[in-house]
Amino acid sequence: MDKQMNFIDRMGRWLNWQRFFFLLVLLVFLTTILFPFYWMVSSSFKTGSEIAGRTPTYIPSALRLDAYRELFDSEWDHFQNFGANIVNSAKVAIPTALIAVILSTLGAYAIARLKFRGKDLLLNGILLVYLIPGVLLIIPLFAMLAQLARRIGFDVQDNLSVLVLTYLAQTLPVALYMLANYFRTIPAEIEQAGLIDGCSRIGVIWRITLPLAVPALVSVGMYTFMIAWNEFLYALVFLNNRDMFTMPIKINTIFSDPSPRPHVVMAASTVMTIPVIVLFLGMERFLAEGLSAGGVKG
């Protein structure tokens, strides 16, 4: 009896110690993850003296909107017209997401369900994209597009459609992979039943497969949207005109301004970051699955 009590007592102590350690680790993780974001948001409300003081200001003294006024209010000094940059980013990210979902749905269906010669070769070729550095592609892409542009007559620089095209190329392989994996989890028998009932293949895809794949479609759409929304390098090279800048390039420009205004940089970063995080947390269930299924490039 005594021995048993002793054992339970020891177990209890061990568990407590373990729980304490676990909570400590969890707390360290949460603080390190969230603090930079807290810093971003809180700094966007600070005054110049709170930013450049002798010690850091952890909590701004008031919710000042000066930085946001500079971004959006045309009456304000150094007006940045950030609204136009948001529109540009949306103009790139939304079409990228929509086109990627449509094209990868078609392709993924072919990969998951149909037999055809050259499938493996094609798949391996598409996955090679993973291996090729982004910086490697810019110059040849630019040279090629310049040739094409002269013949057909469009601009390579400051052309948001060119960005959409490059983002599609970067995201389609992963989207294809994620969706093909998902289609494979839908039993083929359901589709065969539809085929026997006299539906065409396209009819089967439209009426049976797609409604079942909505979670995967949402996650692919979100993933491609985020890639396009966040992308920096191609936008940096292909955009020269301030009016055409997407948000990341604009924020970089404000950051490199000769008179440093960190609160404005942080306000712009907040405007760009918060929607993505809110969207992500809202759809986390779909996304976590999709992210690990495809091994998202990034």
């Binding site: 676990f22 037999k115 910086v135 040739q147 095209l165 293949r201 940089v265 992500f280 690990s292």
Partner: protein, 318 residues
């Protein structure tokens, strides 16, 4: 009749059989994706090999097909470039920096990701929310977080890290973290681990949850400690996933441009090959040299991958 139909030229692509129809539909469905990927990635990549043997600058970028052939000149220029070459322990040059930076940050990313996966594998309230929060660094735009970090690391006393370390009495004078050789590279590595550990975490968590519980019960019966269980049950079960994550993350870290460009601009011992390639191409406008250095980047990567898949991964499949 059937034999004649089979040997007729209509067999294959143009036949009306079910298989042929399916194959045609398949190609029709995948063609747009294939065209974009081949046209915008694979063809330019091959074209880049061609450019790396030519003298291409701003003046002839529009007329690139007639650029003069220069043989291995571009490659020689890159290899002999001051920023590329290894000098001494204080100045590694871009090639060595890239390799060390990629390996160390990949390893650290995986260690942190493993820790996070183990934490999230414990049953506790609000685990779903915690998982969502853990993923945030991975989905947030790099521009915003890089600038938030660089301000936390501000060289003035108002920088948060300076303030913390100075009030703890660990340093007397504020440090310029991102503008000091060594420190800068270490912090860029930390940033990588902070931003990309969720990727490793997700893959490891999925695998952890699939481990057969009876293995742990058997270990309990044998009286194994928590550390022994981790070393003898968990790690062997994770080996294959760890191998794949390492390969994927190493590839992407190797090719990564924005993180370092935004944090340090490639200065203070953090110049990696992607940043150097960018500088050759868009600061010096020597596109041939840029193409050559990106080819060198890819060659190092491919050599490593072949080695890795042949030697390291072969061991994990047994």
């Amino acid at each position: 009749m059937t034999t004649r139909a089979e040997s007729s030229p209509r067999r294959g692509w143009f036949s009306n059989s079910f298989e042929a129809k399916e194959a045609r539909l398949a190609w029709f469905l995948i063609l747009p994706t294939a065209l974009i990927v081949f046209g915008v990635v694979l063809f330019p990549a091959i074209f880049s090999v061609w450019i790396s043997f030519r003298d291409v600058g701003l003046n002839n970028l529009n007329d690139v097909f007639n650029a003069p052939f220069t043989g291995l000149e571009n490659y020689k220029n890159v290899i002999n470039d001051y920023a590329f070459k290894y000098h001494n322990l204080q100045n590694w040059g871009a090639a060595v920096t890239t390799i060390i930076y990629s390996f160390v940050s990949t390893a650290l990313t995986i260690v942190v990701g493993l820790g996070a996966a183990i934490v999230l594998n414990q049953p506790f309230k609000a685990r779903g929310i915690a998982r969502g929060i853990f993923l945030i660094p991975y989905v947030a735009p790099v521009v915003g977080v890089a600038f938030a970090w660089s301000w936390l690391l501000d060289p003035r006393p108002s920088g948060v890290l300076n303030h913390i370390l100075m009030s703890l009495g660990l340093i007397e004078l504020p440090k310029a973290y991102l503008a000091t050789r060594g420190l800068a590279l270490g912090l860029v590595v930390l940033f990588q681990a902070w931003r990309y550990f969720p990727f490793a975490m997700l893959m490891l968590l999925a695998r952890l949850q699939a481990i057969d519980k009876t293995l742990y019960e058997a270990a309990d019966v044998d009286g194994a400690s928590a550390i022994q269980k981790f070393a003898n049950v968990t790690l062997p079960e994770l080996r294959y996933v760890l191998g794949s994550i390492f390969l994927l993350r190493l590839m992407w870290t190797f090719n990564k441009f924005d993180d370092i460009f935004l944090l340090t601009g490639g200065g203070f011992g953090t110049k990696v090959l992607p940043v150097l390639t960018y500088e050759f191409s868009f600061r010096l406008f020597d596109f041939g040299k840029g193409a050559a250095s990106s080819m060198i980047l890819m060659i190092i990567l491919v050599v490593f991958m072949v080695f890795y898949v042949r030697i390291v991964m072969r061991g994990t499949e047994e």
